[in-house]
Symmetry: C2
Subunit: 366 residues, 2 copies
């Protein structure tokens, strides 16, 4: 029997690193850690389910471990102090490596703690959710939340390596799996015909327990994001395209109360809204794109628009609350919200200001 395929995607940031993708890649942790001192900051549930895989790395076997979470609870500011105190109490020095293990929240916290501890120690990220593997694993963004909003305090801190072990996806709750699929779908629209076509061919077969097919989807997303991030490490320009669907999605997450709508599910509805906005604003050139996206959303179990999301939620989101949440987006503080709108597969328009009446109508607030 041939072993499952492993993929390596280089990320040409400064410094450069590799994302290793596939079932079982956690067994490479040992190579990356050597015998330097290290510490683990891990989502408690990921540790319980998949912690045994970490024992393959000798450096981790007796390393200090901090369990965080669940989910966004890992990103409270107080958790950052707890993580930093943990590293200091472990008496790690500047040569130490922090290993982040779990979903995006645990990785964000681990990355931020690593970037601050002694003004920066290395971090190796081992994301265990589809969302974290396709999205948070590339780009070096770290953050915690403030009272005023999500991800308001953070750094850019490129990891030394990322190990996206798709075998860990088998235990993902359905909502988290769908959340990852929302980002995969967004990436497919951004990358253009290739991933969009692949997704149309494989959508029905994409399952948490098919680690090899998931690895192919992850690799395609990571390749795209790596190209964008390498061109714009500090989000000065092109990197903004990754926010396709996100201005609406953040408003949805905020209006619903954070944690109620999984991020990627909100992105799917946000993508639907961005397509509708692009059509109404005359930005959309490929008239067939909305139907192709809607078909994929149906097959992937994702909401195609706000109405579908509201139907899933039971109690519909209030239009006025969505509008207020939109004004609160961190990219829009003190200014009008700007949108990334699709033009055709593989092409978006950045920084579009929309007619407030159109936005109100799209959000059901008119």
């Amino acid at each position: 029997m041939t072993p499952p395929k492993r993929r390596a995607v280089p990320v040409a940031t400064e410094p450069a690193y590799e994302v290793r993708i596939g079932p079982g890649v956690l067994d490479e942790l040992g190579e990356h850690l050597g015998d330097e001192p290290c510490a683990l900051i891990a989502d408690a549930r990921a540790l319980e389910l998949h912690g045994a895989a970490l024992d393959a790395a000798p450096a981790l076997r007796d390393a200090p471990r901090l369990a965080v979470g669940p989910g966004e609870r890992a990103k409270r500011f107080a958790e950052l102090e707890r993580a930093l105190d943990f590293l200091a109490d472990a008496r790690l020095d500047r040569r130490a490596t922090v290993v982040g293990f779990g979903g995006g929240a645990a990785g964000d916290l681990a990355g931020l703690a690593a970037s601050l501890y002694m003004r920066g120690v290395d971090v190796v990220q081992a994301p265990t959710t589809l969302l974290a593997q396709v999205d948070a694993s590339v780009g070096g963004k770290t953050a915690v939340n403030l009272a005023a909003g999500k991800n308001l305090a953070g750094t850019f801190h490129q990891p030394r390596a990322v190990l996206a072990d798709t075998a860990t996806l088998a235990t993902l709750p359905s909502d988290e799996w769908r959340s990852g699929l929302g980002e995969v779908l967004k990436t497919a629209v951004l990358t253009g015909p290739e991933l969009l076509g692949w997704l149309e061919q494989h959508a029905d077969a994409l399952r948490p327990d098919d680690a090899d097919r998931a690895a192919e989807a992850v690799a395609q997303c990571v390749r795209h994001k790596a190209a964008v991030v390498a061109a714009d490490e500090r989000e000065a320009g092109r990197r903004a395209e990754l926010n396709l669907g996100h201005t609406f999605a953040h408003a949805i997450e905020r209006a619903a109360g954070f944690g109620r709508v999984p991020h990627g599910v909100a992105v799917s509805a946000g993508l639907g809204l961005a397509l509708a906005a692009a059509r109404a604003a005359g930005v959309l050139e490929d008239e067939a794109l909305p139907a192709r996206v809607a078909d994929l959303q149906r097959r992937l179990g994702l909401p195609r628009d706000l109405a579908a999301l509201n139907a899933d939620l039971g109690t519909p989101l209030d239009g006025a609350a969505l509008l207020a949440a939109l004004a609160h987006d961190k990219k829009a503080l003190r200014s009008e919200p700007r949108f990334v709108l699709p033009v055709r597969p593989g092409q978006v328009r950045l920084g579009v200001a929309l007619d407030p009446a159109l936005v109100a109508r799209l959000l059901g607030a008119a």
Copy 2:
């Protein structure tokens, strides 16, 4: 009457910036801030004494202000959250500039908050103590303290500009003035004959209310530090020379209880210990250096060694406590302490491991 001289020292970090030095340079704040939104994070006492000088900048007149401190209290972890919440509540966006105003602690906090807020906004530093002007103003180090030790959480975040207004020094308490002189003296030993000679010529005339002479001392220190930092921005090598006297100084500060011995005063005693260690270890080549330094220490009102510091303190520091504190230095966690030792003016040896018996004897623990 000719206006007092202003000095500009370029710092070739990435990005590069200038340190403007001299009485009255705060009137240049307006040029640096333009009319972009900004916020002030300031030491409460500096704001009270010198806040009027900030009104020269139109952008600051109605800007949100956060008063912090006094002193090291600004560097508690909870103050970092308060500073970040303050920036978010002011609804600043990514184009905002944070102005740090006060001593090193306020500047460290302002710099760290700026580097984290939305993953990094600009900071302009306006240091108002001699210590901050000669030391903290160059190098981009930011930090807060953790329970386990000082400066354990921070970033490298280069300011957009530094305005060292030496007119603000006139109100410095004597201890803080001497603290700055300790770093000036250390720098003189590091830079070599030029600043050492200048200091020997001007030591008696260096006074808080002679803003022009102070500016000359600050400029010489900043020029030296700028050269070192530009060559080694992330403290991988040569930058370590700036820690001359600091391994001992940190142990003194810790053993005395932080805040009891001003940093630069501890550095002066640490410099004396480093000279004694260098002589005992056969590292010192210029036999005349210890006497020259001791003469300057006497004229500047600084302790020449541990005995002199203990005499100042009344209750002598315990040798065993000093040894324990030395083992706790953040640069020495999990390893033996390493020392920067003087060889001759302008030359040090880095990373020297000393015979533990010698260290114990120097600290009065043998």
